[in-house]
Amino acid sequence: MSIPNARSLVVGVFLLCLGACATPPQTRLMLSSPPASLPRHVELTSVPYFAQDAYQCGPASLAMSLNAVGFSVTPEILKSELYLPDRHGSLQVEMLAAARRNGAVAYQLAPELNDVMQEIAAGSPVVVLQNLAFSWYPVWHYAVVIGYDLDQAEIILRSGPEQRQVLPMRTFEYTWARSNYWAMVAMPPGKIPETADATRFIAAVSALEKISGPGKVQGTYIAALKRWPGNLSAQIGVGNAAYQLHDLDQAEVAFRLAAHDHPDSVAAFNNLAQTLYDQGHSDEALQAAHRAVSLGGPLAQTAQETLAEIERAKKK
């Protein structure tokens, strides 16, 4: 090796070491001022471990998180639901979709270390996507965060061949940051992630409802309404699930509440009108339908159709 080369190597290694002393931003913030609500140390030891076959970290990770919250499913079954043979891997979207296919509400967390740790503290294992190598030489990998230790600055995972992998928090952040901090939780019916945002959570419930039917999600909508009283999407969700299950009385209560709390919501008045009409209260239904139409907006077409249908029926 010629001298200039050796010198540049030394400089290179020196710079790398210098970099290693730096701490990535989320870890730094977490260690310097951890939220008072977070316990110093949590480990969800009851999360089961599935050793993965080659390339099967997606199915294995999802199986661990689903089984941990009461859905019994094997990595082999999940393989047919999310593995891409030619890519030797699994897509993020399919991780969410496959969780849903097995009956869970699949919720993607905000890209915050704090949120991951809050979920762990609340008892939910978190599936994360890591790039274990570099952005220019990616090694994509799914693992399950099951714990952390603030005193040791460590994150604890079930990862590939390792049942209990302990990573320095900063190393975890480096690998996780390269996936843009992608993280998800699979929630059982009626449970809401600790860090959930109301709108994004209801969207996740509604995605499950589309493939599982209203019966499976009704309890979750009701739980959401309890967590976020007065939330329009939750009110509509409760009402729609009840309506589809032919519980018109409960639907009416939910839509009335929505219309009362949100007097400018087309959805609330339209769905109230349809429900009242189905109950045989056509005068009141007509009133609500007129109100829905008068509000305009992107849902105006639906409101028009409801009004027309009620008027048509009244003329008969």
Partner: protein, 136 residues
């Protein structure tokens, strides 16, 4: 000529895919004229008809791409059915460029040495046998 032909084929296959999709996927429950829960969440559905058609095309595209990557036709259909319109839209047309979480295999020798060093420094975590220095 060939370009025209391939464009023709592309459209033909789209139409075929679409009709196959229409047969295979049960339509979302059409109950009266209720506003869907998801619609109250997703506000930007100004033109609902166009949105529906686009969603259909996105789904057909994702089904075709999944099959290209080794998934059987039936599985691909069931898998896309479990996606939301937004999810299908986000991956349509670029499925092969998205990260697919798999595993650590086939690391080249040069990269191996670099990765070994960065593993030890704690920037990466490719090898199970490395223990990085933990300085805060």
């Amino acid at each position: 000529m060939t370009q025209q032909y391939s464009r023709f084929m592309r459209w033909t296959s789209r139409v075929v895919m679409l009709s196959m999709l229409a047969m295979g996927l049960p339509m979302q429950s059409a109950f009266a004229v209720m506003v869907d829960t998801n619609q109250t969440v997703v506000h930007e559905l100004a033109n609902q008809d166009r949105a529906k058609i686009n969603a259909f095309l996105d789904r057909a595209d994702v089904i075709a791409q999944l099959q290209k990557q080794g998934v059987t036709a039936n599985q691909a259909k069931a898998r896309v059915y479990a996606m939301t319109d937004d999810e299908a839209h986000n991956i349509a047309g670029k499925l092969d460029q998205l990260p697919a979480g798999g595993d650590v295999l086939g690391v080249l020798l040069t990269v191996f040495i670099v990765l070994l060093i960065t593993d030890i420094l704690g920037f990466t975590k490719v090898f199970p046998f490395t223990h990085s220095i933990n300085n805060r």
